[in-house]
Amino acid sequence: MRNGSRAVKKLLLLGAGSALIFTMGGIGPAAADAGPHKTTMVQPGQSGVLISVAGGGRCASCHRAHTAKAEYLLKDAQPALCYSCHGGSGASLDVVDGVNNDDGGALRGGGFEYALINGAGATKSISLPDAAGKTTRTVTAPAGTVEAPVTSRHQIDGTTTGTMWGNGAISAAVNPGKAGVTLECGSCHDPHGNGNYRILRPIPNDAATSAVAATATTPAVAAVVVAPVNIPDAITKVYTTTDYWAVADRNVPTVAAAPGVAPVAPIAGQTDGYITNVAQWCTTCHTRYMATSGSYKTNSGDAVFTYKHRSDSIDKDGVSRPNCIQCHVSHGTSANMTSRAASFTAPDGLVPTPQGAGATVGIGTPPGPYTPTLVGGTAVGTSRLLRVDNRGVCVMCHNL
């Protein structure tokens, strides 16, 4: 194996200008957008770059040219390969546990096994009416101090299939989305670094094929051509939060920088570039969830996603607005659902099961290689990646 690898190294050195070198740059440690994920590509205008430095043998940390065990010449399958660093001992951001190990901070996206989301601790305050009769509301969904098992997550084991809810064009026939989808870390993130904040892919892997195939019970949905969405990079990156309801990131400029070009510095008072883009990014997969103002009373023509809560709002003045990530996290949440909140049906008519290492079995058995652990013997139900317990996200904005 080593002899073969030596030959590979020679080939890589000889092929200094080859696409292989260019596409294999970067390796593994530290913060996502930089550090090891930072591309080692030779940039335009550079000359005489030492390949031994640019390559540095680091390609081999994740790739094998002839003996790869997974797609894209990865030496092993995801997510275990990614968890080697992002599982506790090799990086600052621990996505398994939803924590930034440098300071114990809560990852904004939560974790895949545990998260620091204190869904039960969310609060709301309303001031007394002022002279004009107006009140001011203050809401917080604090980060927890102790990790809790996740109750729902994006399943990223690469083998468990699920439905990509809302994927596809508006359909008069009942069609909840694209079935049989598998996800991996690399579905959403580009491990080589791409100049986007959080190294998010402009188009997640599966979104490009957004047509829903016909089955015996569901008709085909026309293909949707999704446009790439760039989440602008930021000079100051914020990976953690103390308040899960404060999703704005004013550090992110509204103008996306091209790869290799310094990002545009944020301007005070300018719209948040992250919030501006992220709803469009989420809906490259969940196509039919995109909804504009008034969608709550306008028939979309879709048999499933007929009337919808608005999801396209942006942060104009530092105050959070209705947006995908206002209510949902991307990795996994530890918010708990009880009673009716735990048993709402999904668009396909089924009740999703709780997921994660600490998920309790309410209905069915959590998919994947995880052994559910009873938490106080109480079924917590699925939480649909929500940030607040039960349907607290509704009350955070609406005074019922």
Binding site: G28, P29, K75, D76, S89, E113, Y114, V146
Partner: protein
């Protein structure tokens, strides 16, 4: 039967050696019997003395001919019970194997030599709830047999007795110069503790911190920017400190004075490293480095005459079968020629031997 074999005639009522039926035993026969007994006793005494000498001067099995040197171990068995194990430590006799679990109950556990669970090492409630902890590496203090468990999440090292009873949280004395995020640990014979520290968001602050036996901060190793997520750490017979400079893909050797004197390089060449994690030096001086990205353990000799360890060979391959690894991480050796390796994604600790 020849004539020489003919015994003298024996009269009725008379036995061989009995003189004229008096019952008195002939002196020659008695001497023979005593000689035999004396020889037997002497032999037993000599054997006993040899056994005592062996107990007092025995060498590890790994130093017996054909077992040390350049020999590589082979797979023997596995210990199950810890989920996504990372760190492992073992007593000299191999009667206690301590393992940290990074998933499941996220606790350290002690197993006996047969793999039977004998204790669970639980931090007290005052240090946080059941999910507040993430044990990483484990080490045994040779002067007390206490067990040290590093916990990056709580930035602490918890100390237990050999039976798993919580004793205290390790309290550094002196100036730590900022935060402390412990990972790998190893002890010198006098109880000096070496800890890899991955504090801070960038590798510029990563280092090795050396504590005296009483917990006093003595010094740190590694210039700013030199180490990136150092993980496993071990001392060799010369007092050199071998550190897995994990995210730089190399192993760094510091001499006893703290000067970096050698590295084992990252790369794809013979003996090069991918992503080193656990490090151990066995009693024959063999350096073992777990390469988690290559799913194998690389071995090197640590010859005093050479600064850089000399590559011997590797064992293990990627997979789920016995002897195959999925992201191995920690390594430890006992003095019975056994090597223990945490096999993270296979949820087991593999035991290899010679």
């Amino acid at each position: 039967m020849t004539n020489l074999d003919v015994a003298p005639p024996v009269a009725p009522g008379q036995t061989q050696g009995d003189v004229a039926g008096t019952g008195a035993v002939a002196p020659a026969g008695m001497k023979n019997k005593k000689r035999k007994i004396a020889a037997l006793v002497s032999l037993l005494v000599i054997l006993a003395l040899l056994f005592v000498w062996y107990l007092m001067n025995r060498k590890p099995l790994s130093e017996l001919p054909g077992l040390g040197g350049t020999a590589l171990p082979h797979y023997q068995s596995s210990i199950y019970g810890s989920t996504k194990p990372l760190g492992v430590a073992v007593t000299a006799s191999g009667d206690r194997v301590y393992v940290t679990a990074s998933d499941g109950d996220r606790l350290a556990k002690a197993y006996d030599h047969s793999g039977k669970l004998v204790a669970t090492l639980k931090p007290p409630a005052s240090t946080g709830g059941p999910t507040a902890h993430l044990p990483m590496y484990v080490a045994i203090n040779p002067t007390t047999q206490d067990v040290y468990v590093s916990d990056r999440m709580t930035a602490s090292i918890y100390v237990y007795d050999a039976n798993g009873k919580f004793l205290r949280t390790f309290a550094p004395k002196g100036n730590l110069d900022g935060k402390f995020a412990p990972l790998g640990m190893t002890f010198a014979p006098d109880g000096t503790l070496y800890v890899t520290d991955v504090r801070g968001p960038e590798s510029k602050t990563h280092r090795v911190v050396v504590f005296g036996a009483d917990g006093t901060v003595l010094r740190s190793l590694g210039a700013p920017g030199q180490l990136s997520f150092p993980n496993g750490i071990a001392l060799d017979a010369s007092g050199n400190v071998d550190v897995a400079d994990s995210n730089n893909g190399r192993l760094v050797v510091f001499n006893p004075a703290g000067k970096m004197i050698a590295t084992i390089s990252p790369g794809v060449g013979e003996g090069d490293l991918g992503m080193p994690r656990g490090v151990a030096v066995d009693d024959s001086g063999k350096l073992l480095v777990v390469d988690t990205a290559d799913h194998m353990v690389r071995t090197y000799s640590t010859d005093k005459s050479k600064l850089t360890p000399t590559y011997i060979g590797s064992f293990g391959t990627e997979g789920q079968l016995d002897g195959a690894f999925e992201y191995p991480n920690g390594v430890a050796t006992d003095k019975r020629a056994h090597v223990y390796i945490t096999d993270r994604e296979n949820n087991r600790v593999q035991v290899w031997g010679y």
